[in-house]
């Protein structure tokens, strides 16, 4: 896919299974919305094909596709009330009035908006508008429902409720959902399959657990959750060397002495008294996070993020132990060295990335 000669999507090769909840996950400008718009028919790819039940639908206009979309910020019709918004697609299809009314009522119940039929759109809250948008798309019984960051405009609490709601609706109706989000937590908790994208390319496809536990490269490891990413060398199967020390690990199949990226999740690291540790470092910052402390430890100038419920004060010397299953090995990639160093750590890292993402579109 190209825009003004600039390549936005490159080599996207995706299969969607029936009744699947698939999420396109990635930072701003990674091409996930573009992918969705191609599937919806609002953009025609400059090369490549879109197949639906085995038929190429590149030249099929949106109104002839058995696909419906829940748009970012809903795009509800302001001149129609809730009922007429939901009935819109059925009216266009010229279904009998009685059937329309029955299906709209049914949908209102599914999204929990009984009694709102004759309310005007402007009188609804964000969460309610969002439910109308979902109902308006689902009432047409599409084979595939596209959702473009449908929860981005809602506050955290409402977002959590709607996540459960969407998952429930998807399972109840047995429709394929293709969901776009930049929120990794949302992606992990809702999806059957997660597609991590960056720079117009698919970085990894897999089940949420696999994406989290077995990230393919430094980008995925950093984007999904927090990761300490270190330079290492794979000496042989199950033996990796970093920080001048050889560790046992559970990964194999690398070339002898291959340089690799080593991922260690902050929550997998256990503190031990300094004398018993594999590595010994100094605590440089401690932040209370509610569930745990975020502790930054300096190991020979490389700073790690460690999440733990044990308190260790600033300036304290601590030791850590790493179990083989806590160490995950990845091939080197174009992203090596770009992520996973917490030297510039600030307590606001979550909020900062959130803000950057919200600037999308």
């Amino acid at each position: 896919m190209e825009f003004d000669g600039e390549r936005i999507l490159d080599g996207i090769n995706l299969y969607f299974n029936d009744h699947e909840f698939l999420t396109l996950l990635g930072p701003s400008g990674c091409g996930k919305t573009t992918t969705l718009r191609i599937i919806g028919g609002f953009l025609t790819p400059t090369s490549g094909r879109v197949l639906f039940d085995g038929n190429c639908i590149n030249d099929v206009p949106p109104y002839q596709r058995q696909i419906n979309t829940v748009f970012q910020r809903y795009a509800l019709f302001p001149h129609l009330n809730v009922y007429d918004n939901i009935a819109f697609g059925l009216n266009v299809a010229k279904l009998p009035k009685a059937e329309i009314s029955q299906r709209v009522e049914e949908m209102l119940e599914v999204v929990g908006l009984q009694g709102f039929a004759h309310r005007h759109i402007d009188s609804l809250s964000g969460g309610q508008q969002q439910r109308v948008a979902i109902a308006r798309a689902l009432v047409n019984r599409p084979k595939v429902l596209l959702l473009d960051e449908p929860l981005a405009a809602l506050d955290l609490r409402l977002r959590k409720d709607m996540q459960n709601e969407l998952k429930r609706i998807q399972q109840a109706m047995g429709i394929t959902f293709i969901y776009v989000t930049h929120d990794q937590e949302e992606a992990l908790s809702m999806s059957d399959t997660v597609v991590v994208m960056d720079k117009g390319r698919i970085q990894q496809i897999g089940r949420p657990e696999d994406i989290y536990n077995e990230p393919k490269n430094a980008f995925v490891a950093d984007f999904i959750g927090e990761s300490n990413i270190l330079d290492g060398v794979m000496l042989s199967d199950y033996k990796v060397k970093f920080f001048g020390r050889v560790f046992d690990c559970v990964d194999a199949g690398f070339a002898p002495n291959e340089p690799v990226d080593v991922v260690i999740r902050p929550e997998d690291i256990d503190f031990v008294p300094a004398g018993e540790g594999h590595l010994v470092g100094t605590v440089t910052s401690v932040t209370f996070k509610g569930l745990n402390y975020d502790i930054i430890v300096d190991f020979r100038g490389f700073k790690w993020l460690i999440q733990t419920t044990d308190y260790h004060g600033e300036g304290e010397t601590v030791g850590i132990r790493l179990n083989p299953e806590d160490i995950h090995i990845m091939h080197k990639s174009e992203y090596s060295g770009m992520f996973g160093d917490y030297s510039s750590y600030s307590a606001e890292y979550d909020e900062l990335t959130e803000d950057a993402d919200n600037e999308e579109e």
Partner: protein, 274 residues
């Protein structure tokens, strides 16, 4: 505190309105209801208005036809402009405004030069050996003059509304199965309604009271408009009392028309309040 200040600031204009709008309106009302010779109260002027009902009818008819033609011509233009890039939009907007920068009188006189029996168009037709057409003094010429002069008042409000229609609504309609024609009928047109109504009002109101266009491009008895009659009462006929009565009725008519329009408009968005 704030309220008091805003009254102070709007004071000059309120005074202006009082002196130059409300008081003159009272004077018009006074003239309309008094006898030209004795100055005594009378319904005579209002009764005389019956004579001018056909003229009033012609005025309303011509203005409605003009407003309709303006709408048919203006809507596609406004839609076209609203869907250009930002620079093209500015240039096209300027072009629509451009005729309004030229004097209204001059623009109308220019049409006289074009439409006259030995005017530019007829000379051209003569050169082609097509004979000459009788254009000036016909209802068509008057309506043409109205359309030409008031078309920008139709395009500008339409453009202002259409440009604000969210493209995602159009995509949503396509997504829900609308062909391009249905998108227009079910989404774009209903959402343009406020622009259509204000455009029609903006064309209808000045057109219904015009006298210059009908004098220059019409000038015959069949194209006599209510504006001409009013002007005549004040000037040649020397009967300001009848003229005042006519003006009052015309004003009332405009009020009723705009009232109906607004009613339509608020019905469109009526649900907002409910």
């Amino acid at each position: 505190m704030k309220k008091n200040k805003s009254i102070l600031l709007s004071g000059p204009y309120i005074l202006w309105m009082l002196v130059f709008t409300l008081i003159p309106l009272g004077v018009v009302g006074y003239y309309a209801l008094t006898d030209p010779d004795t100055g005594a109260f009378t319904w005579g002027n209002i009764q005389d208005l019956m004579l001018f009902i056909p003229t009033l009818g012609t005025s309303v008819w011509y203005s409605l036809v003009s407003a309709l033609i303006c709408l048919l011509l203006g809507y596609p233009v406004a839609y076209f402009i609203a869907h250009r890039g930002p620079t093209a939009q500015k240039i096209l907007y300027m072009l629509v405004m451009l005729p309004m920068c030229m004097s209204f009188l001059l623009r109308t006189l220019a049409w006289v030069g074009l439409l006259e029996s030995n005017g530019i168009i007829n000379q051209f037709l003569g050169l082609l050996g097509l004979g000459s057409a009788n254009m000036i003094g016909t209802p068509g010429a008057v309506i043409l003059g109205m359309v030409y002069n008031y078309l920008p008042y139709m395009i500008l409000p339409l453009y202002a509304i259409i440009v604000k229609i969210d493209n995602r609504l159009i995509e949503a309609a396509e997504d829900l199965g609308c062909t391009p024609k249905q998108v227009f009928a079910k989404v774009v047109l209903p959402l343009s309604m406020p622009g259509i109504l204000s455009g029609i009002t903006m064309v209808f109101v000045p057109a219904v009271s015009t006298f210059y266009i009908s004098q220059k491009l019409g000038g015959t008895d069949t194209t006599l408009l209510i504006g001409d009659v009013i002007e005549r009462q004040f000037k040649s006929a020397g009967n300001p009392n009848l003229g005042a009565a006519l003006s009052l009725v015309l004003m009332l008519l405009v009020f009723i028309c705009t009232g109906i329009m607004n009613r339509f408009g608020s019905d469109e968005e009526g649900g907002v309040v409910v």
